[in-house]
Symmetry: C2
Subunit: 586 residues, 2 copies
């Protein structure tokens, strides 16, 4: 037997027990005639003692030990002379009688400590050593816990977990598919699913009523930071529901997760329309942990010969509480921030509402004190506050003001990762205009239902049609999104027409789903959550990679196993494939 207890288990109540432990050598310390070894496993650390009474054989073995050796020890639990209050096992130690070295270890390429000396690249190459570190391992434990609670909740709500296939059919819409050549069907290819969207709709038509799955999805995209070619989704669909049924169900799930995983009780989730989210936060995923809402000033800033404002489509302001004392240097830094290419504003106008009730602004040349007082009134500013104003093209300026607001939120410490502000953004536009192809695209996907009262706009102003589509946003991060689907064949045809699909194209790409709709489709809708993102939010981190056991790098490579790699010519021949040789760079 390798152990009677794990390394995180022994307490004062175990004193005098004869125990056997196994684990990794974290640290060896010599102190006079004594040797102390910290023994580590997933559950914790236990201190082992070898003293002058130890046999020569035992002492010799201890001298062999190095970091990360795997050993098995037996001995008696005693009370420690000097206790370590920082760890649960810190009141006891084990006086070792016998020691077996189960595996030796070369010196690891970086230290297995919470704060390691290893850089990103080497830690990825030796990911199995990185996972031994508490921060990484506890990220995986968190992921496990969230997954179990998701299932527990959805099971309790009558959802069925149903596996959909991974070898499916390639469709030209949307992002690029990964494809898989078929040997048994020469010259044909499977595709890996970008999401189980069509299958979950088929399961509703199949009468499954409530479906979920925690499932891998695949997108062959050029990887932006923190994107993975394979990622995990909590995928859900419900029948005989309106939008509010879906929102209530998944608000319930989210609340359950916060309660069970983080012991946080969340209040009711506010709902905000897409239009309001853009108007007040310049974003469809507002961080509402703090206020600082946008105020439009266009109406009250005009006619003072300030051409920047007069010529602007949009003038928007935020009020940063208590920042009137900002120095010139700080204000310059803010201007530089908004002028960064990825933010893209031309400049920044500020108004300090001084404690004495006067105003000092960067546009004093154009605006009198009573003008600025009107701005203060509009933005609800008080003496001591700082008003920041951006102007220009509406969409771009809102987006820049959004970044400025988040930046100020960070500066003022208003974005505590341990505070959670969930919300639903609803009434997304059904369609968005695509400049390149000069036609409307589905903002969500072509099966999303418009709101009934907006359907007549198809013929007059399609861009104004609101969809029954919604996103769950927490702390400014889109955690999930979904929609009520079209279940009516006629409306679906109309939708395809407006998206510029010919009947033939619609048939070729979505034929089997359209066929299925002919046999009695129930009203249905659903949602999909980014599981990697959800877990990283629970873990208080912005990087999803820390919560994936074996992530890929920005080139889609697994540097540990060296994948992808060349394959044997025979393999390609069997698949009836030739490769067109490309010069490799390195």
């Amino acid at each position: 037997m390798y152990r009677t207890h794990n390394c995180g288990e022994l307490r004062i109540s175990n004193i005098d027990n004869e125990v056997t432990l196994s684990g990794w050598v974290q640290r060896v310390r010599k102190l006079g005639g004594m040797t102390f070894v910290d023994l580590r496993d997933r559950y914790g650390i236990s201190q082992l003692v070898f003293d002058e009474n130890s046999s020569e054989e035992l002492k010799n073995k201890v001298d062999e030990l190095g970091r990360e050796y795997v050993i098995k020890v037996s001995g008696k639990v005693i009370e420690r002379a000097s206790k370590n209050k920082k760890i649960p096992t810190g009141e006891v130690e084990i006086v070792v009688d016998t020691l077996d070295i189960l595996s030796k270890s070369d010196t690891p390429p970086f230290t297995i400590e919470d704060n390691t000396d290893g850089g990103d690249e080497i830690r990825m190459k030796y990911r199995y050593l990185d996972i031994r570190r508490n921060p990484v391992r506890s990220g995986l434990e968190l992921r496990h816990r969230v997954a179990q609670e998701v299932r527990r909740y959805l099971d309790s709500q009558n959802f069925l977990e149903i596996e959909t296939p991974y070898l499916i059919k390639s469709t030209p819409e949307g992002a690029r598919d990964f494809i898989v050549p078929s040997r048994m069907n020469p010259n044909q290819f499977y595709a890996l699913p970008q999401s189980p969207q069509t299958f979950k709709q088929l399961l509703m038509i199949a009468g499954c009523d409530r479906y979920f799955q925690i499932v891998k999805c695949f997108r062959d995209e050029d990887l932006r930071a923190d994107r993975q070619p394979e990622f995990t989704q909590i995928d859900c669909e419900m029948s005989f529901v309106e939008q509010d049924d879906v929102l209530n169900t998944f608000e319930g799930m989210t609340r359950h997760l916060f309660k069970t995983v983080k012991d946080v009780e969340l209040a009711d989730f506010p709902k905000m329309t897409y239009a309001d989210a853009m108007k007040y936060y310049g974003s469809d995923k507002p961080d509402i942990r703090f206020g600082m809402r946008f105020v439009e000033l266009k109406e009250i800033v005009g006619g003072k010969d300030f051409v920047v404002f007069d010529s602007a489509e949009y003038v928007g302001a935020i009020c940063a509480e208590g920042c009137a004392e900002y120095t010139r240097k700080k204000l310059d830094a803010l201007t530089k921030f908004v002028q960064k290419p990825q933010i893209g504003a031309k400049g920044l106008v500020y108004v300090k509402y001084n404690a004495d009730g006067t105003f000092k602004s960067s546009v004093d040349k154009f605006y009198a004190q009573e003008d600025l007082a009107k701005w203060a009134e509009a933005t609800n500013a008080k003496p001591g506050d700082l008003i920041l104003v951006l102007a220009g093209d509406k969409a771009k300026t809102q987006s820049a003001l959004c970044e400025l607001r988040l930046h100020m939120g960070n500066e003022l410490g208003l974005r505590d990762p341990e505070v959670f502000a969930p919300m639903w953004v609803v009434d997304f536009p059904l369609l968005e205009w695509d400049e390149d192809s000069n036609r409307y695209h589905a903002m969500h996907h072509p099966f999303t239902s418009p709101r009934e009262e907006d359907i007549e706009l198809f013929n007059t102003n399609p861009g104004e049609i609101r969809a029954k589509a919604y996103d769950l946003v927490i702390n400014g991060v889109e955690i999930g999104g979904g929609s009520i689907r079209i279940h009516n064949t006629e409306l679906q045809k109309q939708m395809f027409k407006h998206l510029g699909f010919s009947d033939e194209e619609a048939e070729e790409q979505f034929g089997f789903l359209m066929d299925a709709f002919k046999y009695g489709a129930p009203p249905h809708g659903g949602v999909a959550f980014g599981f990697d993102r959800l877990v990283s939010m629970f873990g208080g981190s912005e990087s999803i990679r820390d919560f994936i056991a074996f992530p890929k790098n920005n080139s889609g490579r697994d540097v540990m196993i060296e994948a992808p790699s060349m394959v044997a010519d025979d393999q390609l021949k069997e698949l009836n494939l030739n490769i067109i040789k490309v010069e490799q760079e390195d």
Copy 2:
């Protein structure tokens, strides 16, 4: 709101409630002025009534209804005049006030009934309609339930569910990989995992201690009946364990599943060595729901000038209780059975132990009554029993006798699908000789540990080495298997050498795992269960396809979505691939 209740929910206690239901029209029956509609959803069937008091508008709408229409109705629950005791809602019906047709349906291509008129092929093409049928839907519900209970149990035992990657590296060993061309890494390919074997071992080296996953695996094999190119595995691994720790843990899990899913209490699982399984049952997956063990007769049948037995390597018998009365016709049928090419015996010898104590055999010419009495003694036969004997080459004859035994078990009703006889088969051979390559192959996989006491046989008789490998067998079906792994680099090298790997080959194929072993590998072992097979056993069926939502056919095709399919030339170009055109047959 689409419903206040589902279609399986209403009871006598709901009488006088005003309710709203939604679902599919299962059946419309007219009876005088009344119309009865059976409304179906996942949860059950409710009876709707439209009578002479219904409005003309309502009557007209009811006349429109056809099978599989999706409707929403509101009305009052009343007690039925003639109750249907067969269904839980059979005591009540709903007198409908309002009816909305939510979706119409074309006439489905087969009847949506427990016993459908649809053949296999059409049901696969319209799988979403097939799933509406109770037997298919309840198979998916069973699968869901088993999956939840697997996770609940393993979570309670400190296992972490950890997702391993799907885009991995191709290895030439074992079955064929599906490969996935990489666009970002030109001319390189990922492979889809045949199992997460190496990753779970890395997770043990990473200190995760206990891992599991319910995970899709992929094998590009020519499909035998009831094999799928993608299949699901319950994959598990544990650190610091001996074989018995693994067996006890998964015996516990199996017992938990039987208890929670089928309300069956299982006794302790017997363990049988591979050698005994072959000796007594001629199979490494014996069905021990019944006895009829093999008895070797070679020693007592010789020297009587019966050349068939005298020249045979092996003479084996089974005793079929109470079958002495078998007619000539039945015995001929048994002979034909064993002579079928897939069974392959030359002939069958029988001995009837008559009720009067005499013997009648097919070899009376060679054997006297006292000879046959010895056979009866050896096989424990009693008057009234029938002894069946096969002879020939040992392996082939044992295999044929195994088939005969199972056949007799079926004939005698000894293989009740509602009786469950689990067992562990242990001590599998480590290596098996491969005639083609003229060398030993790993019977399980190259990381399986030999039993310590057998290691010295590497130099004398490698075929005799027993592995720490085990299978869970239930009712003659292999449900899972696994092994204790080698965690010692030296032993692993020795193993590779005996398997005929050069150091370079071992390094190329398993380099990253061998590297990992250098940094302190704990003793570890695990098991993998065929989830599709496990669920189908719980469902009392031999076909796994019924328990997969969207299975593929024997050519690896999904006939519903028509995958695999041709892809656009652009897609191949981006991947730097040319296809070698193959003439299509159809």
